[in-house]
Symmetry: C2
Subunit: 236 residues, 2 copies
């Protein structure tokens, strides 16, 4: 049963593992509103499908889907520019990954803030993590602290919105463990940067996810291309 006195939170839900577990954290303390942002990434349709499945699972009524396809026009990332290849079979270990979308999280926080101010939400939840993918500068807590200050300065005096980043210090193993503990529907999530039918199992995002499940001693419930190939079936 929902308690009406719980604060309202806007959760940024991409449909991936991290945002699903972050939403599970939000649900522990808040009423939730889910926002999903398409930004011209390769696996846009599959991520939107995962978003809606997770929102259905949590019976979320307030949903907002916005399109910032202009990030594709701006380019500069393998995630939005199809002329740049998504790296395979190798985890980026230093420097800024080629999948960095310039200042993307500022767009996400701005969208969540505008909506939060209109619907009266007190918190924004975002599934950023400084660990593993530490190459993304806009995933650091110091960035969210600065955005929180910008929200304080740039919204109505009576508006008071804080940015919560519950998994920011977790590695993928801890994220998987937290998801399992909170009963997050990990089977509904989608992480692959490259494919939409079966996860490729080879991009940065798949490799990290698989490593996280393995280290947590759990089986990843989503299907992978390699599984099918191992069973002698034809991969698409």
């Amino acid at each position: 049963m929902e308690n009406n006195k719980r604060p309202l939170a806007v959760c940024l839900v991409s449909g991936g593992l991290d945002s699903c577990v972050t939403a599970a954290f939000a649900k522990e303390e808040c009423e939730v509103a889910f926002v999903h942002v398409n930004y011209g990434q390769r696996t846009q349709q599959r991520e939107l499908e995962a978003f809606n499945k997770i929102a259905d699972y949590y019976q979320v009524e307030k949903r907002l889907v916005v399109d910032i396809g202009y990030l594709k026009k701006i380019g500069g990332s393998a995630l939005t520019d199809t002329s740049i290849d998504v790296p395979q079979d190798t985890l980026s270990t230093n420097g800024i990954p080629i999948t960095y979308v310039p200042f993307r999280n500022a767009h996400l926080i701005s969208i969540a803030t505008s909506w939060a101010e209109v619907i009266g939400a007190q918190f924004i939840y975002i599934g950023a993590t400084e660990v593993d993918f530490s190459g993304y500068p806009d995933c650091r807590r110091s960035f969210f602290d600065a955005m929180e200050l910008a929200i304080h300065e740039g919204t109505r005096p009576e508006t008071n919105i804080k940015i919560r980043t519950p998994i920011i210090h977790m590695g993928k193993k801890e994220v998987v463990e937290a998801g399992a503990r909170l009963g997050a529907p990990l089977e509904l999530t989608w992480s692959c940067y490259k494919d939409e039918d079966l996860a490729c199992g080879r991009c940065d995002s798949c490799l990290l996810r698989l490593k996280g499940f393995k280290e947590a001693g759990l089986k990843d419930p989503i299907p992978y291309k390699a599984d099918k190939e191992n069973r002698g079936e034809t991969s698409i």
Copy 2:
């Protein structure tokens, strides 16, 4: 003649008086790239037309037009929600004006920053002013300072982008005077919040603009509905 050693600046150009004069300031010191943002405002087409005319005037090659129509979906402002009336014949003097679009300038700065990072621009110019329309919280320098910090924290280590707000302490009179001094094409600008054919002369934005020209002792070069009515012609 252009000097190739001048730094590159991304100018946010709405097509209004303030952004036109701000672009004129940018041109004094930098090579410029112009970005225009449609956000579902009532006078979207007319503002885009003004943007292109001003860009042509300054012979700007790098132009980016992005659409953030989702702000209309989020609502909460008379500028984007047609069920809320735009006030007429009265200048808002205290509180947050009903035309405040929640956290709008954070979206504009985020867009300008992503583009600036990709094209290697060092500055973002925005025509915000704390004076006159001081009711908009996201027009204060303290907000831009926080966003500048967020840019520092949230972009690549080698990226160094500063936000310039040359007219932030100017009233409309000073903006008009600066525009005249810098040779800005004020006749190409559009400020009216309400109409697209002839400026209404009655909304907040028109009243402020007319007051600015009057105080500067200059005639506003754009046509107003009232002018036509005064001449006995039929207004549309």
